[in-house]
């Protein structure tokens, strides 16, 4: 196998289409800043692959990079954008591609306005109306959600503590040893037999083990939820720390963004920073029905929502036809173990579920709770854990 040498101190490597190694190193760095986790080991792998192909062909470079530097379908549009930016001409993609994958992606090569939080105060008033109207165009802005008051922090810390509940469980297919008679464990029984030289011993038993149910959190980060999104995302972060259980977190705005990955790690501040960086549509409008469909198509139906406790955190303001949301909710209700709707606005005096989307969704909701206060979030945690059940 040919020895591959990655340039020492890749800092000086400028993308150069004529030099495959420099090109791939540059590609790796650009992808890294676009949010793909590309380390030097991956780049070395890309170079190795390119050498095994024909590194002078653009198509071969494309595939060598794509096969080694991408790790999930969400990476592909970013990869295509960066690759196209670094080399010229059309991409060697084979067909226009499944539409849901090809989306405009903000690439770090062209960073949008970084001072998002500054101009918000000045423009907020005049722009609110405009923004809601233009929300389908998307407000691609980065928003700093890491600045929180001390009182708010204390409140959230307690909410996190309330969440460290074991989670609702279900029987697993995996069996474990049990002292009580049940199904015989042939492996352990024969092993004991072997130990005693083949003399009959007491049989060993197994029982079904239990596993926590998966939890899926869909957090609405649209304009109408702006006061609550941060708190709810922190709640989601605490929920992802459940041990031994799968928790998936998505944000809903003008588009669906999966943020489970960004939620990993213990430090909530760091997690919130990572989430703020990947969610492109803070404070846009909501298309709940369309996004729920996207979630079900891409994740839910394949397994993420099956047998899970699905929590939708939204005020139910739907810009599109509520009937779409109703239809998708009925799909969700068939897949999920339980559907919980958490509406922070439900805590207000005189609240009635009048938002069009909410009214359409409610028939399919198992539990309807508010999420406006610490007490409400604690209750939500208990419901997610299956400790408390409250009818819609």
């Amino acid at each position: 196998m040919s020895e591959v040498r990655v340039l020492p101190g890749a800092g000086g490597a400028e993308p150069d289409p004529d030099d495959p190694v420099r090109m791939l190193v540059g590609l790796g760095r650009a992808l890294d800043s676009a949010g793909l986790r590309v380390g030097p080991d991956r780049v070395a792998e890309a170079v190795r692959a390119a050498v095994a192909l024909d590194p002078t062909r653009r198509t071969d470079l494309y595939w060598a990079g794509r096969l080694t530097l991408c790790a999930n379908p969400d990476d592909l549009p970013k990869y295509d954008a960066v690759f196209a930016a670094l080399t010229e001409g059309d991409l060697p993609r084979l067909r226009p591609g499944a539409q849901h994958l090809v989306r405009a992606v903000p690439v770090a090569l062209a960073v949008p306005d970084a001072g998002g939080s500054d101009d918000e105060d000045t423009e907020a008033g005049a722009e609110t109306v405009l923004r809601a109207a233009a929300s389908t165009v998307e407000t691609l802005r980065h928003k700093d959600v890491t600045t929180l008051g001390a009182a708010e922090r204390a409140l959230l810390d307690r909410a996190l503590a309330a969440l460290s509940l074991p989670g609702e469980s279900r029987p697993s297919r995996r069996r474990r040893p049990s002292p009580h008679p049940g199904a015989v464990d042939p492996r352990r029984t024969v092993r004991a037999l072997l130990r005693s030289g083949g003399e009959l011993v007491r049989p060993r038993w197994t029982r079904r083990s239990v596993r926590p149910r998966p939890v899926v959190l869909l957090v609405d980060v649209s304009g109408s939820m702006s006061g609550y999104a941060d708190v709810l995302l922190r709640f989601a972060h605490a929920a992802t720390r459940r041990r031994g259980a799968r928790t998936e977190v998505f944000t809903l705005g003008t588009r669906l963004t999966r943020v489970t990955r960004e939620m990993t790690g213990r430090d909530p501040e760091r997690a919130m920073g990572a989430v703020a960086a990947v969610v492109p549509d803070w404070s846009g409008g909501t298309r709940l029905g369309a996004l729920l469909r996207e979630f079900l198509d891409r994740w839910g139906q394949r397994g993420a929502a099956r047998g899970a406790v699905v929590v939708i955190m939204s005020d139910g303001w739907e810009r599109d036809d509520p009937a779409v949301l109703g239809a998708q909710m009925s799909r969700l209700a068939l897949l999920a173990h339980r559907v919980v709707w958490c509406n922070p606005r439900a805590g207000r005096p005189g609240f009635a579920p009048l938002a069009g989307g909410l009214a359409a969704a409610l028939p399919y909701v198992d539990d309807f709770v508010s999420g406006h206060s610490l007490a409400a979030l604690e209750q939500l945690a208990r419901i997610v854990a299956g400790v408390e059940v409250r009818g819609a």
Partner: protein, 303 residues
Amino acid sequence: MDGRGLLPAGVESPADLVGRLADVGYLADEGLATAAYLGLRLHRPLFCEGEAGVGKTELAKALASVLGAPLIRLQCYEGIEASQALYDWDFPRQLLHLRTAEAAADFDPAAVEAELWSRRFLVARPLLQALEITPSVLLVDEVDRADDEFEAFLLEVLSDFAVTVPELGTLRADVPPAVVVTSNRTRDVHDALKRRCYYHWLEHPEFEREVAIVRLRVPEASARLCAEVTAAAHALRDADLLKPPGIAETVDWAQALAALGAPGLDPGLAAATLGAVVKYREDVERVRSLDVGALVTRALMGA
């Protein structure tokens, strides 16, 4: 290693591999062929992700035919354990051996003990089988169904092509098998596993390729029937169904229609055989509300 890995003689580029795969009835596009070429040449597992029915599993079967190697399949499911995937001790045989040895005149407990934990009493499960049979093609199907603990077993096997049995030591493959790992993406597989592999996302094939696949798979169907069925399947994929048809469904549909002796796709027969493509009651209703005939005409015009 000779630098050619598992590549069969005469395959010098991904394009050659496309030809070989086509010979065994699998029409791969350039990206997939490149991935497979690199995987074979550099002994890397191939991690294939994509919608159900885009040909992930078929790829492993086709590679096995091209290499003339046995296909060893490990179907993953929740709760799968090392004893079902890697190896297990054959306890009944060990016991029998022990009893026989005891009955013999020259019973030597130490020697019998050593014999009991030797390779002959080890039952190889798919992962170990794949390491011991060379060459072979290992298909780890639907890895996303297994629990994440299982990925740790897989990691050792796929990175070192070795299995460690505590009582026996490490068993290593002379020549690593060709490995295809598939996932339907019901959950994210851990990065560490993907990092060992070439990652390829499979999409539904474009119209021409799919027609070719259907013709290859259903030789008894007429060219017109194949084109019309494929056009209809493409139209259905855009029709907002709960479960859009995959290639497997297109092939099934063409097969069903060919069995009925249909020269082409007419609305009556299409409605009667809809069960081959559409698998949800809601979808069936939705498709019935569409005009299949018009759908086909429009799709064929567009294609």
